[in-house]
């Protein structure tokens, strides 16, 4: 068996070399000489083996935000040491009207704090497990290169703190989550969030950035059943969630808590899917994504997209210009989830109406006919 694996790896390697040679020939030498070595390697789609080399200048404490807010863009042009203070708090919250759940959180709410660093930064995670908590916890950030993504070196008992460092070598939008056994329970109870490793060149300027994270709750009671709920093991194993929500609770970004935008603005959503089980068919009703950075990577992989897939334990970045006033509904277009399980959010858009873009002409929905 190991021999076969070896051989196929070899084949892949040979194919990659061949492909690289072909693309070299096609690109010509002019392109190559105009780039640094690493840039050239990346632009050809080959596989860089990274070594952190940017000098680390100074130190700062990361600004952390609760969903749906995102820390401001990083404007510095050098790498620095970034201290991230994450407090693990176990508490009772409402996940729907009169429905309570004892969640475990990174920073006091579900989803956890949004972390923003810059590609090349030396990130130091200070993970504090509050003294009154019952469980040991840790953190696996998908932005980490190394076994366990931090989990191996961050286990912390109630009343203690763990500290570890990593260099944010790969830019992109990454999930983080608790990876303490039993992992599905720690995740189903709310232990997830996102970290943006901002590319060195930054992201295109927009007017608004928001943090939206989809996830599921598996409760012993039915959807909407009042009172304190508990993780239902059987529903979890069978992947039959009771709730599918954006930002930790039914209605967390709807109604009075809707995301806000104005006609003429450009909006960027950092969207994660914590799972624990479901893939999201992420859609905004009445809007078309002008850019989708597929799976949270750094390249706008598509334009003019209606619905984009987000894997469990993955993310996406979507950008769009806002052209019409009104309420844009955010849904998982696996539509029973939106209608019956809570996967419903809202962007409230204000500003002048443009009848050229959208107007009712005749019918039940048209006023003043």
């Amino acid at each position: 068996m190991p021999v076969a694996v070896h051989e196929s790896a070899h084949t892949v390697k040979r194919a990659a070399v061949a492909a690289a040679l072909v693309s070299l020939a096609l690109l010509g030498t002019a392109t190559l000489t105009s780039c640094t070595r690493a840039d050239a390697a990346e632009s050809r789609g080959s596989i860089p083996v990274r070594t952190p080399s940017d000098p680390i200048e100074g130190q700062e404490v990361a600004v952390l935000t609760d969903a749906p807010n995102v820390p401001p863009p990083i404007t510095r042009t050098h790498a620095t040491k970034v201290i991230v203070n994450l407090d693990i708090i176990e508490k009772t919250v409402q996940i729907a009207d009169s429905v309570e759940y004892n969640v475990w959180t990174f920073g006091g709410s579900v989803p956890g704090k949004f972390i923003r660093v810059r590609e090349g930064d030396l990130v130091e995670i200070h993970l504090k497990n509050a003294a009154g908590n019952t469980m040991p916890h840790n953190i696996d950030l998908h932005a980490v290169t190394g076994p366990g993504g931090g989990a191996k070196v961050s286990m912390v008992l109630p009343g203690s703190e763990s500290i570890f460092r990593f260099t944010a070598m790969n830019p992109g939008l990454f999930i983080y989550h608790c990876a303490t056994s039993p992992v599905p329970m720690h995740m189903a109870n709310g232990m997830y969030g996102m970290i943006l490793v901002q590319p060195k060149d930054g992201l295109p300027k927009v007017d608004r950035e928001y943090y939206v994270m989809q996830s599921e709750y598996y409760t012993t009671g039915k959807f909407g059943e009042h009172g304190l709920q508990t993780l239902d093991m059987e529903k979890g194993i069978e992947e039959r969630p009771t709730y599918v929500v954006f930002n930790g609770a039914v209605g967390a970004i709807a109604g009075a808590k809707a995301l806000q935008a104005k006609v003429g603005e450009r909006v960027r959503l950092f969207v994660g899917d914590a799972g624990p089980n479901l893939t999201s068919s992420f859609h905004v009703i009445g809007e078309i994504f002008d850019n989708v950075y597929g799976e949270g990577g750094t390249v706008a992989t598509q334009h003019n997209v209606q619905t984009t897939l987000i894997p469990a334990g993955g993310s996406t970045i979507v950008e769009f210009g806002v052209e019409q006033p009104g309420d844009l509904m955010i849904v998982d277009h696996s539509i029973f989830r939106a209608f019956n399980q809570g996967a419903l959010g809202m962007i409230h858009v204000t500003g002048p109406d443009n009848a050229r873009i959208y107007a009712g002409v005749k019918g039940l929905g048209v006023k003043g006919e």
């Binding site: 286990m155 303490t180 304190l228 508990t230």
Partner: protein, 245 residues
């Protein structure tokens, strides 16, 4: 059934406050389902040690008072929920299970009473029982009930042996809490952050399910992870103990 009653009868002569546990077998989390671990007959405290009981111990043993405790024997949070050295709170508080006690302190307490801490095998063997069955762990309803107790901090019950509150709001020390992980303390190496604890089961990852006899026994995973993270000095707000002999 008759044999079981007979063995209980034979064991019935145990000190007050203790419950005789007949010999038997249980399925450890990380063992083959068809290879149960034998547990010899022993006796265990019916209830967790209370604050009031521990107060009597520290009165008699000044070295174990909060202000006198050596850092090598207990962390800074040792008895931190007590108003002072010899004040374990009001009557209601004194009836609560003692918390924020290190393994060293728990062991010393049991030794002072001619007892010892139960082994992990003994503890898990007794804890597999519900009110009616000695091993209820293959019943999803039992697992679900324990999950609710662990996360919502409610309940507690007297099991079929007559032992109270093994799963009520908190964890309990065992004599060999981390021996399954490594020859040295897994917790020590985790605390150092070198990730080199070299245990058989990496409880910090999803891979922890590998080799587990029953991957849906989440309560057993939770207890196992708690034990793996502890050092002998650990003193946390949801960790107490009971003695065995």
């Amino acid at each position: 059934m008759i044999a079981a009653l007979l063995s209980l009868a034979l064991l019935a002569k145990v000190p007050a406050g203790m419950v005789p546990i007949p010999a038997g077998a249980y399925h450890p989390l990380f063992a083959m389902r068809n290879a149960p671990t034998r547990v010899a007959a022993f006796a265990v405290d019916r209830a967790p040690v209370t604050r009031g009981e521990f107060l009597i111990f520290v009165r008699a043993n000044p070295a174990w008072r909060r202000s006198a405790i050596k850092p090598s024997l207990a962390g800074a949070s040792y008895l931190s929920d007590w108003p002072s050295d010899l004040d374990a709170g009001n009557r209601t508080s004194r009836d609560q299970p003692v918390r924020n006690v290190s393994w060293f302190a728990a062991r010393a307490y049991c030794a002072a009473r001619g007892k010892r801490l139960p082994t992990t095998d003994e503890w898990e063997y007794v804890a597999a029982a519900d009110e009616k069955r000695r091993d209820a762990t293959s019943d999803p309803a039992f697992i679900q009930r324990l999950i609710a107790m662990y996360t919502n901090h409610r309940g507690g019950f007297r099991n079929v042996y007559g032992v109270d509150d093994l799963h009520a709001d908190g964890w309990e020390w065992t004599a060999d809490f981390n021996s399954a992980m490594s020859a040295m303390s897994a917790g020590d190496s985790m605390a150092r952050g070198d990730g080199a604890h070299g245990g058989h089961h990496d409880l910090g990852c999803a891979g922890a399910a590998f080799g587990a006899a029953d991957p849906s026994n989440y309560p057993a995973f939770l207890r196992s992870t708690v034990r793996a993270g502890l050092t002998r000095q650990s003193a946390t707000s949801h960790l107490g103990f009971r003695c065995a002999m």
